[in-house]
């Protein structure tokens, strides 16, 4: 009901469209699960977007840190394993709402979906490559008259497939049949 209402409201309104091309840089943070264990880190973000009216296609890459905490399964052997995480992928963004307090100052809400591949490399030599799919929302302020300068805050739910990744970076007793659950990813980026 909520999503339907978001999609149908203000459909006829005239909005200032996304810019044709928009490079984007920023930083973010993510938390996810590898098997039954929590994983998290911070990321640098690089992206390029193509605007098509209220729609925007984008490709993005991130490089950052990753750390696995093993306390979920072995509280007596509390150990963390650190490493790196690289992700690249692409998606589509829809300009759901726009508010213009001034002609050259927009406050916008977007809904977006994306998919990509992430690769973990941990300090103990273990590796993990897995696909993901994400849906999320974003808030941005944009100045069309100032090189389309945009400051954006994105938050999304990230789904990863269930598989035998539970043994990656495992210490102590880890359940190889535990599946992943949805993670959380967010970023603060600047586009122009």
């Amino acid at each position: 009901m909520v999503i339907c209402a978001a999609g149908t409201a203000a459909a006829e309104d005239q909005v200032t469209p996304w810019p044709r091309w928009a490079p984007e840089v920023g930083f973010g943070a993510h938390v996810s699960q590898i098997g039954a264990r929590s994983e998290g880190g911070v990321d640098g973000v690089l992206a390029l977007s193509l605007g098509l009216g209220r729609w925007q296609l984008f490709g993005s890459a991130t490089l950052g840190t990753a750390g696995v905490n093993n306390t979920a399964t072995t509280p007596a052997l509390e150990m963390a394993v650190d490493g790196s995480r690289a992700w690249f992928g692409g998606g589509i963004r829809w300009l759901a709402r726009q508010y213009a307090p001034e002609r050259d100052f927009l406050i916008e809400m977007d809904l977006h979906a994306q998919t990509g591949i992430e690769r973990y490399a941990f300090g103990d030599g273990t590796r993990l490559v897995r696909p993901d799919v994400a849906v999320g929302v974003g808030w941005d302020v944009r100045s069309p008259g100032l090189h389309q300068l945009t400051t954006r805050l994105d938050v999304r739910i990230v789904f990863t497939p269930t598989n035998e990744d539970a043994l990656v970076a495992c210490r102590g007793t880890c359940d190889p049949h535990s599946g992943s659950v949805a993670g959380l990813d967010m970023g603060v980026t600047f586009a122009w």
Binding site: M1, V2, I3, A5, A6, A9, A10, D13, Q14, V15, T16, V31, Q33, A36, S38, T71, A72, T73, P75, A96, R97, Q98, Y99, A100, P101, E102, R103, F105, L106, I107, M109, L111, G136, V137, W139, V155, I157, V181, A182, L184
Partner: protein
């Protein structure tokens, strides 16, 4: 709970054609009973039903960490939330900027109920090329009653929300 759901549905259905509606998203962090931490991300709809009363609906994704016998168990999943919001007071002291204080209450199907306060501002001017009418930014504090895992108790959640008026 069923009666409350029916009440919200009836109120939403009888709203006037010129009612005020807003759509937005929110993010919350809370501590629930049974040593449970809840992080929530949601899309929310507010619909004015009469005067200062709004019916609210939200689709929210929850990340929940529960500590059981020194072990943290993580789960995640969606929830639908229905409620009502009442504008307690508004300040028009600043031009084009309203300061609002709202009370809210509601229920979620997983046997939770909440009551809370929201404080926020609303920019109401619409000088630009769009026909939309306002932008709202709120911070809120909720008390949440839950019977999670047969442990009945009260928790709390801090929320940040933003919404665009239609």
């Amino acid at each position: 709970m069923v009666r409350a759901l029916a009440l919200v549905a009836v109120l939403a259905g009888t709203a006037r054609a010129d009612v005020d509606r807003r759509v937005g998203w929110d993010f919350g962090v809370g501590a629930l009973p049974a040593k449970t931490v809840d992080i929530a991300l949601g899309i929310a709809l507010d619909q004015r039903i009469a005067g200062a009363w709004f019916a609210t609906a939200a689709f929210r994704w929850h990340w929940i960490d529960q500590t059981i016998a020194m072990t943290t168990v993580s789960t995640a999943g969606p929830a639908l939330e229905l409620g009502v919001r009442h504008r307690l007071t508004t300040s028009h002291r600043f031009e084009h900027l309203d300061l609002n204080l709202d009370g809210e209450a509601g229920i979620a199907p997983q046997m939770e109920a909440y009551a809370g306060l929201r404080f926020g501002y609303r920019i109401t001017e619409h000088m630009g090329p769009t026909a939309q009418h306002g932008f709202d930014f709120d911070v809120g504090l909720r008390a949440i009653a839950s019977d999670r895992d047969a442990v009945i108790g009260i928790g709390g959640m801090f929320m940040v929300a933003m919404a665009w008026d239609d």
